[in-house]
Symmetry: C2
Subunit: 355 residues, 2 copies
Amino acid sequence: MTKQIVRIKDIAERANVSTGTVDRVLHNRGRVAEDVRQRVTKIAEELNYEPNLLARTLVNNKVYHIAAIIPDPKADSYWQAPKSGIDKAEEELKRYGIRVTHFIYDSLDAASFTRAAGKVEELAFDGILVAPIFYRESLAFLNKWKSSKVPFVQFNTHIPAYEPLMYIGQDSYQSGVLAGKLMHYGCREKATFVVAHIEEDIQNSTHLIHKEQGFVDYFSSHGQEGFYTVIQKDLKATAQHTIAQQLDSLFEEETQIKGIFVTNSKANIVATYLQKRQITHVRLIGYDLIEKNLHFLNSETIDFLINQNPKGQGYWGIYGLADHLVFKKKNNPIKYLPLDIITKENLQYYIEADI
Amino acid sequence: MTKQIVRIKDIAERANVSTGTVDRVLHNRGRVAEDVRQRVTKIAEELNYEPNLLARTLVNNKVYHIAAIIPDPKADSYWQAPKSGIDKAEEELKRYGIRVTHFIYDSLDAASFTRAAGKVEELAFDGILVAPIFYRESLAFLNKWKSSKVPFVQFNTHIPAYEPLMYIGQDSYQSGVLAGKLMHYGCREKATFVVAHIEEDIQNSTHLIHKEQGFVDYFSSHGQEGFYTVIQKDLKATAQHTIAQQLDSLFEEETQIKGIFVTNSKANIVATYLQKRQITHVRLIGYDLIEKNLHFLNSETIDFLINQNPKGQGYWGIYGLADHLVFKKKNNPIKYLPLDIITKENLQYYIEADI
DNA sequence: CAAAAAAATGTGTTCGAACACGCAAATATT
DNA sequence: AATATTTGCGTGTTCGAACACATTTTTTTG
């Protein structure tokens, strides 16, 4: 029952060879007689040998350069969290030679993404962490990285294919379903629900479309035909109309609105509106624990926020690359983070949590 | 900007002493001239020296014995999860000399706890992880461990004082508040809510009382006087009455029941009842992702389960002890785990999650 | 003042894995 | 047959920290 640690030396003794030979076998460095190779392999398996990562990394002092391509946290505070997760991971991993260089782009400007990713292209990194929020612009780069075999990790937005090392983030569709459930649980009467995309180019943002689809699908499988109505609304401030004006006319046209589901982190804009118009009977569900949203969560204007664990996304993203580059561990190619339901009453534990 | 790793050797060179001297200074081993000690300390601080944990643990091959005192998973399947968290941590930490011995007691028999803890007492462990679910019986042991300076970690149930190395688990009171919120969000009409303690000796289980208190307090601060009524119910199968019979009479006496909050992992017992009686308008909220509950969560008889991350509790508990014993790191004495809200739609991500 | 004791400091080995290097035996080349 | 080349395998060093042990310096004591 005593758990015994198996070392290369132990294998070597049993196989009557030197540690150097075992090392060659385990790392497929060749230069070993076939019969010896088989004997050593067999013994290693029998003893259930697992390399000591510490000793391994201790001797390895290569430096690995990772590029992180993310939106500017100053423009959209949501992106502060992934950045701090990345920084935290870098801090922990610098001992193992991990160095991260940030390439910041503007989350409202697809061309700036292309520029940032282009720079990374030129510089030859050992790994790339990218939040590919612009679908069209991302494809070309994902394709290039795939063919040049640079390991890359996608987070926040899932663009399948192109064989990323891994994807880290949420299942957007399922988070829409979850929002549907929460809306439904809070409102059993006949009602109209609004899916609101705020300040987004939805045609180029697949994950928002998935969220909407999940929400719609929830209601088509719950409650009889015609009982619940879901409408979609694309809200953008224009020269002609502010968002408040657009919401005014929405509420005029649709009198049965009992809930609004905001597909990105901008639920606070709707909350501001509801508070100003003193509308209290409308349920409001959004995303992300950013400062502006938390204020309305605490005043209970926003009922629920779905948390994407953005800090964790950055953190695990860098770790995924390090596992590949430094520790030679394999990771699951898709890491779906939990869909955390946040309300005023459990908020504090998600804010305090380190990762 | 290039992050430089500072080694003992670097400090030694700058201070014009040998690495041995630096080592003595850093570990307060004495036998160093005062002026040299100050010089070295100063340089270590300036360079922001942080010991390389890997190298440290590599050389240290002491074995640390930890006792885990937990209820029998076979009797109450909830306890399977902490056990597997403990096992996982042991697996990861065995390289650093961590060995865990389990002491299992019966979660329905306080005397068995005393026996298990008594055995640990005799055997002299380097650290103890304990789920002190019996308040009275735990006090004596906590006190003994405190005075004999054995580091111990409490999890699941928080009994303050006695200076544990740390407590890991939830804030029971706040989880009751959260249950209140969820109940309230799902039911805006006049209603009666039941707080049900099932098969528990509540007088000896402080955390259940805290949950009830949180739930009650939520409703006293929301909604006007008399709109919501909260009643407490202690349900235990006896020779005279089954739990179903007790629920029958409860529903006869109280006609306005719109929700039931079960304070432990036995919500499935109420769910079975509701399903048999075909009661669908009653909201049901409980705790813990055990098999029996999940079935009713999926059939939407249980609306929400609050997850205590039991696997994480065991895992982090062992890690807390290892941080202290092996890595000499300091931990926060209270680690409140998030109050995860689980519903059918986001369940899968909490089941799959490793920790 | 010299010898002994105490204090201060330096040196060398260890942990487990990786890898460069070196040497011997087997095989190939002339 | 002599020499070169390949193949197979062992040895020794390295990583950073810990610690035992050795050595030097200072202080105390008879």
